[in-house]
Symmetry: C2
Subunit: 348 residues, 2 copies
């Protein structure tokens, strides 16, 4: 069982010839909207991007905004979101406020002509998200869903392996995490997002799990327990010829194991043989040029998405192929359906 | 992360003071009904039980029965099931035929006054299983559901840990395996079987996954993909204070990892801290006195259940506490409901 250091040095947009790795130096002046912990972590990740400048921060509470600015060498601080998005020295706004404020704050920044990267989930429901994307399209600016998971090399490698047929036809995915939007995105990662699920059933503690059925006999078994616990954080994608197992934490993995088929193309399963499948384990060391104290695990992996934003905007792209607007909407529709079923279960 | 050799030398029935370990020497003369591969493996596992004698084998095909008997030193071979169960030198019959024949063959043996151990699933549906148990009760003999998983030391240890509160209150289980009855039994292992699930929803490829909702906010997320693949074989039981992760193969595990809570009783989860929970990994070496060539992995773990049958019958028990008739019926009801939904999906 060899262990591999696997440096996937070419992100998807670079591999597709859409962007240039050097364009992480493309200058973007960032305004941070919301001065909470996730905003702090995003701001710290920007310190690792050569072209990024922390220009402004805004919070309703002036003291919080000032403290955030002082801590992180942000040039200006605002107690008014409106004033910050009007700042001519801000190119792109990071929206790090609460989910139910994402739409309001994103539209505020878009209306001021700024690019926006908004934390996940993008909005409170799919209809809001569609309205936000339409607003960005009207102005020709970027609106990026902050699904940072998709920018990790382990995920990019998983996508490549699936595309190259390393596990044959993907048939089923398993994923769990307390935040459903993270586990939902695993389904289109494996199966694509051209078709909506043909059915979604939820169950468990006030709908804490869901089974997604896709055309072509694909199924996603997702679990998002709402209680504090030590979660399995499994992300498994398995198909006709093998299985991809992402390392923990499943939403920001730095490890991938490919359980490859046996020689002769027969998948290893206890029905057909007595030996475990050959395993290939790959490691993807996190960026060393960023460190985020007191963060969740692997939080400095934010850097991967931050770099992509610079590369893509340098190339004139307002979408990232790692997580397009269409895919984001696909996930928002599923999330909205699950939330609807969850609300119905809670009120039953 | 210490690794422990954990020799759980006291099976549940012994711990409960119901049986004596020495009673594996209690004499039982076995008749094997069905001469297929699983019967062969069961017969080989009996070679490791001091009190077991392979007295008879029966198959509809005389040549198959004779070959089986010659291979395994079985005293007599029959081409008639009726003749074998009438043999006065047979104390207990192992039913290893196809599922749809389990009821017929089990009743045949019970009517002849024999104890019966029947391969899982016990019957084609819960109604059949109830009829079979009633027949065994009428005669005061054992009818044991062949859920060998439950007799593995790793499972006995999991049960003990749950009982002792090592993971707090169990809230959710995840399990997958191609045979649904194996993953179903994980739910009552964690939550007990006093109450039926309050709801069962299925989904996926012709209902290849199910979510079981139990009173008290317990939920089981089960997946039983019907295609050949390298399955994850996850068995996870997680609660308010930690998690039990059974090793692969999940249906016959020889390893258990306890992800214990942090000091102070706070469960380790990314919401509340940045360090992984302390892990305690336990190994349970398989019995060395049995070896089964060309078998599925860990198949010689059949021995654990074989030994229990001898111990329990020696003590006059017609049930094993590792998997009582009530628990078997609990699982049969869930299985029947899932099969019903699966048939409905296939016909939709």
């Amino acid at each position: 069982m060899p262990d591999h250091e696997f440096a996937l040095s070419t992100p998807l947009d670079v591999r597709l010839g859409q962007t240039d790795p050097k364009d992480t130096a493309f200058p973007l002046r960032w305004g941070i909207l919301g001065a909470g912990n996730v905003s702090r972590q995003w701001a710290l990740s920007l310190l690792g991007v050569p072209g990024a400048t922390l220009t402004a921060v805004a919070a309703r509470d002036k003291d919080r905004a000032d403290a955030f600015a002082a801590n992180l060498d942000v040039t200006r601080s605002f107690a008014s979101y409106e004033a910050m998005v009007a700042d001519e020295d801000v190119d792109i706004v990071y929206v790090g406020t609460k989910t139910w404020l994402h739409k309001e704050h994103t539209l505020l920044a878009l209306h001021a002509g700024k690019h926006v990267m908004c934390e996940k989930p993008l909005a409170s429901n799919a209809a809001e998200a569609a309205e936000m994307y339409a607003s960005a399209a009207d102005r020709g600016v970027m609106l990026l869903d902050g699904m940072w998971t998709r920018f990790f090399p382990a995920i990019e490698h998983a996508r490549t392996l699936i595309h190259d047929g390393a596990i044959g036809e993907p048939l089923m995915v398993h994923a769990d995490f307390f935040d459903p939007i993270y586990v939902i995105q695993v389904a289109p990662l494996a199966f694509g997002y051209e078709q909506a699920p043909s059915s979604i059933v939820t169950g468990g503690r006030a709908a804490s799990a869901a089974i997604l059925d896709y055309e072509g006999n694909h199924a996603a078994v997702l679990s998002f327990p709402p209680f504090n616990s030590e979660l399995p954080e499994v992300t498994e994608i398995f198909g006709t010829q093998g299985r991809i197992s992402l390392g923990r934490p499943g939403h920001c993995p730095t490890e991938l194991t490919l359980h490859a088929p046996r020689v002769g193309g027969v998948p290893s399963q206890y029905r057909t043989n007595n030996e475990p499948a050959p395993q290939h384990r790959f490691h993807y060391p996190l960026p060393a040029n960023v460190s985020i104290p007191s963060a969740f695990p692997n939080q400095h992996g934010f850097l991967y998405q931050a770099e992509a934003v610079h590369r893509c905007l340098a190339a004139g792209l307002v979408e990232c192929p790692q997580y397009t607007q269409a895919e984001s909407m696909h996930c928002m529709h599923i999330w909205t359906d699950i939330m609807r079923q969850k609300a119905a279960a809670a009120n039953a």
